[in-house]
Symmetry: C2
DNA sequence: TTATTAACTGAACGATGGTTCATATGAACG
DNA sequence: CGTTCATATGAACCATCGTTCAGTTAATAA
């Protein structure tokens, strides 16, 4: 340790504060000076930690995303219905728990450097859903269907529900999760053909 | 008609050009100078037509929204299934047709003056879906359910599907409409309960 | 204590972009 | 024609940040 090597404020706190600001005001509405003030540092100090605003933002996205690491990894192979229920519940709960991050993803539609992340996310999730569907059809639990399209629609429905929750604050997490699962599995028909 | 009362370029053209720019680049990325150039006017002239950027934007939103006037007004009262199918199809087709406007609504999450419009839209649509569901349950076409929650989820699913289409360009409009209707009515289960 | 240097400060710089305004243009009217 | 005035022009103005940097602070080593 060499000469004053202790930071006045840890970088993790900067990221935390910045996350709160970015997710509530939006990227371009959040000023560097504002972050500095809320953190208790000068603007200059921020630039000693991060090259610029974009890198600070990026760092924060990486930091928040890192523990998404496939919780959806160990879904029951042998029980497609349970797998689906778990998948939906995990997704919605995660989104709610990480709502600041997720808000940013919905909100900052026009930040081009988020696009690839979104795309990648879609691909991964789409694949997982397809696997569940395929397994379910093979097992006779699910009816035959266009797996590709249906997986897209299911993905979309889950994201839509999350969006609704985040934007309008509508819906309780648990109830929403159940309703969605119910809708997707049984539909609203009284007697499904 | 008094002294040179003909505009070099009609305001409708300004709105049209601005719509294209706002929906592809985003509100704050679209510069007044850029709009002026694409329209074939000077910046100053824009300010003779519209008080400022925000009003120009607002005018364009109003202009685009005005003919949404309840196409969803005359859904068949006596056939809930058909009503739902029609409602979904209308919604998705409309969104695709007016995709520039809809993109803006998804994209400009942080423009506070869009919030009330979003809220109002949700309320209207939620009401319509609830009516369809209630009618269907009464008729015995649909199973008993929490109408409030289910309507929210259905709304969310439709918006999610539209978002998917607009963001990723994924899915054909007709096919998507069918898949969604199918999912919502029948679910994916082979033998519903 | 003194020297060293990492960490910090905040005024100043510069780029960007919305808005204004002095000036120009030209269609209609007398 | 010449006058009028709605319409148009675009350079200049100004506010808002992101970013930089010369100077300051204070922890550690000597």
């Amino acid at each position: 340790m060499n000469h004053r090597s202790v930071n006045k404020v840890p970088s993790s706190k900067i990221l935390k504060v910045a996350l709160a600001l970015f997710s509530s005001r939006g990227y371009s509405e959040t000023k560097m000076a504002e972050i500095a003030q809320n953190v208790g540092l000068s603007v200059g100090a921020l630039y000693l930690r991060f090259k610029n605003k974009e890198e600070l933002f990026w760092e924060l996205i990486k930091d928040q995303s890192k523990d998404f690491i496939d919780r959806t990894k160990n879904l029951p192979e042998d029980d497609p219905l349970k797998a689906l229920r778990t998948y939906i519940a995990l997704n919605i709960e995660y989104a709610f728990q990480k709502r600041q991050l997720i808000s940013i993803f919905f909100r900052e539609y026009n930040l081009t450097f988020l696009k690839p992340l979104r795309k990648k996310f879609f691909k991964t999730q789409h694949e997982i859903i397809k696997d569940i569907l395929t397994a379910g059809i093979k097992r006779g639990t699910f009816r035959p269907m266009d797996v590709e399209d249906t997986a897209s629609i299911i993905f979309a429905s889950i994201r839509g529900a999350i969006l609704l929750k985040l934007i309008f604050g509508i819906g309780d997490v648990k109830a929403m999760s159940n309703s969605l699962f119910n809708l997707i599995t049984n539909g609203i028909r009284k007697d499904a053909l």
